[in-house]
Symmetry: C2
Subunit: 413 residues, 2 copies
């Protein structure tokens, strides 16, 4: 039995269920014999580097349990990118110093692609320096683009928010006798899992006429002709687009109209936005229709009030599984999901994948799940997403507003 | 007993609960002895003018009941403005013709300021032409700006959506170690009831630092200085603004940056939008901060999944009350709400107001409920809003997505 403290960190963009994973990991760790102390890193790996660690054992037990439902990262997140250790070991040596200071032998990192890369680098560095620390990745990304797992915690809730919001917007946009063209912009830089989920709304009778995923090249002229035809036929149109749609040369459509300086975040991703407004203005110019651009913006990743109970439970399970696997001797792995059927019903099983195999790969929507005309998804896509959005989790409220966990956040010494 | 058919119409912008009012009116009308036939006007008064009326008696009874929870207008809405009858009687004569054709002696119109004006004009025209038709207004507006009523159906649900979304956005925007300035744009052209509701989020621990209502003149320079100070102090800021904020000369701030042609709708209101993005860019220029502008857009008025049970029930009650009052002989009135307390608890009572007294007046937030520095609300505002957002209504779902009423919409002959 490897005795020692553990550190749990949350990284990358928020989701509705990342705290459910943290809760699953923290609870399992607090209950284990081998883990002597449970530390929460404030703002992910930055909290380790800055010696900014919360002693989770000092929280009122009921409060970490309250972490199961609120959105975003209760411990704080970061987008800090560790350098390649072959180039600069500074950060890694500091992490090792902190691990030694708190006798940390378990490290759990909860995030998406970049976070799995961080976890992998730390795992390898510790191995190389003969410091025994079992490092496990807990998947999280609303983008659903992690390689090797059937789906990712966070995606189901975001998909449910998107589908429900599209149904409500559809009801709203269709209310007048005079038609309107509405363009809804949905997150997802390179993978169309979220944008495609808008098609669930259509499958349930109130959704977009056209859905554009970034897996297929986007042609503005073809798009405008299609919307014009639709508008002439029906007097209205509802369109969902991924923020990441791009032309055949790879230029983001959002950059067509952008006069703002293009900014890149720490990972070199261009900052996207304003696409819905741009496309709406183009449609207006072409058709003269009343138009409206709607960006679902942050709410699609933090609207815990519309979370999927399935997603919440699977997120919790991922956290629990990571800790149990580490206790059983695993390291350098990420928890992943496998989809199965039992008595004709969807079930989700966990498995472990080497971090090497998942870090920095992106899983896109299979082209055979996308409609031939490039503006919709096929039934297998809907069949894939539908089980992931099922169920309404309990929603702790106070005076009908969300009741969030109240952590004391006692700094570890 | 006045025997005859009734027409029920929905008008103006959608809300999360306008269908609950329609349901309350339709159910009460279908159950009455005096009302021989219940007709739903498609797209409000346009449906009357176009002889486009649905026979609600031909619906499967379970389906009108399903109208109680879905958002937007199940019968369709319009923004058609009737001319002054002294100038042009054409529309009114047509309405009279349709009333006679279907033997209509009850008319219920559900909407905001402009709709109450429409209802009032029809009521007076019928009186003048000695055609007995009891005309009743059913209030509806998320803007909460109808005169003479404590509050309006639709407001509570929108306020709840705004407060909850602001809490979630606050959790999201605070997640990184590096700060961000986030500007949230909220509906409400001339009255700050909706924007002020964002302050509920702050009162519950996760909301905007600054809240701007259109009742107070907005000074861009003072705003930027305040945000800059806040950003320097805390490294971040969350700001909620009404779409209708304007400078001391009455110029909308949204027009400062707008290069789009200003469009006016049929009622002469300027179309607003893009304010959050504009203010965010101004803050970026001033502070260099990472910024994000978020427009809550249509969802704040159609997010029935986050409706207030209190609002839904009061909306239903307003519809029922209108029909019962008409059956009892009333006409030319609007149903209004009075707030009272019973055993220390909020209760809502109905009363009737002459349409003359409500049409075309706007009720704004009292200045004494707005903070002296003009960027927040005081406790009485919060005390006013809080009872209106209470309770979670049942939310009919199919496969965890909203289940809307399936009306056959059989045209009346």
């Amino acid at each position: 039995m490897l005795k020692g403290a553990c550190i749990i960190g949350q990284s990358g963009g928020p989701s509705a269920v990342i705290n459910a994973s943290a809760y699953g990991a923290i609870k399992t760790a607090l209950e284990s014999e081998a883990i002597t102390r449970v530390l929460g890193a404030r703002h992910g790996i930055k909290g380790v580097l800055d010696d900014d660690l919360i002693d989770m054992g000092k929280e009122v037990p009921a409060e970490p349990a309250h972490m199961k439902y609120p959105p975003s990262s209760a411990l704080g997140s970061c987008r800090y990118k560790l350098k390649d250790p072959d180039e600069d070991e500074t950060d890694y040596l500091r992490i090792l110093e902190i691990f030694k200071k708190y006798d940390v032998h378990y490290f759990f990192y909860n995030g998406g692609n970049d976070s799995m890369d961080t976890c992998n680098k730390i795992s390898k560095f510790m191995l190389k320096h003969n410091y025994e620390c079992r490092c496990m990745g807990i998947p999280k990304t609303i983008d659903n683009d992690l390689f090797g797992t059937d789906h990712c915690p966070g995606f189901g809730s975001a998909a449910k928010y998107i589908a429900t919001s599209c149904m409500e917007i559809s009801k709203d946009a269709n209310v007048y006798d005079k038609g309107q063209v509405t363009v809804i912009e949905i997150m997802g830089r390179h993978a169309g899992w979220l944008a495609g989920s808008a098609a669930l709304a259509s499958a349930f009778g109130a959704g977009p006429d056209l859905v554009y995923l970034p897996e297929v090249d986007f042609d503005l002229e073809v798009f405008l002709a299609r919307v014009e035809a639709l508008y002439k036929e029906k007097g209205k149109a509802l369109i969902a687009v991924s923020e990441g749609i791009h032309d055949k040369d790879g230029v983001f459509i959002s950059e067509y109209g952008s006069k703002l300086a293009e900014e890149k975040d720490a990972f070199g991703h261009a900052q996207l936005g304003g696409l819905a407004a741009y496309l709406a203005s183009q449609v207006k110019r072409r058709t003269g229709a009343k138009v409206r651009g709607i960006e679902l913006s942050l709410l699609q990743r933090c609207a815990a009030h519309l979370a999927s109970a399935t997603d919440v439970e699977e997120a919790r399970l991922a956290g629990e599984t990571a800790v149990k696997a580490a206790l059983a001797g695993e390291s350098g792995k990420m928890v992943a999901f496998e989809r199965a059927e039992e008595n004709g019903k969807y079930v989700c099983r966990t498995k472990l994948l080497p971090l090497d195999a998942v870090a920095n790969f992106e899983k896109k929507v299979p082209l055979e799940w996308i409609a031939e005309d490039g503006c919709g998804v096929k039934q297998p896509f809907l069949d894939y997403v539908l089980p992931l959005i099922q169920g309404e989790p309990p929603r702790p409220v106070e005076q009908s507003l969300p009741r969030y966990a109240r952590l004391k956040k006692v700094l570890a010494k």
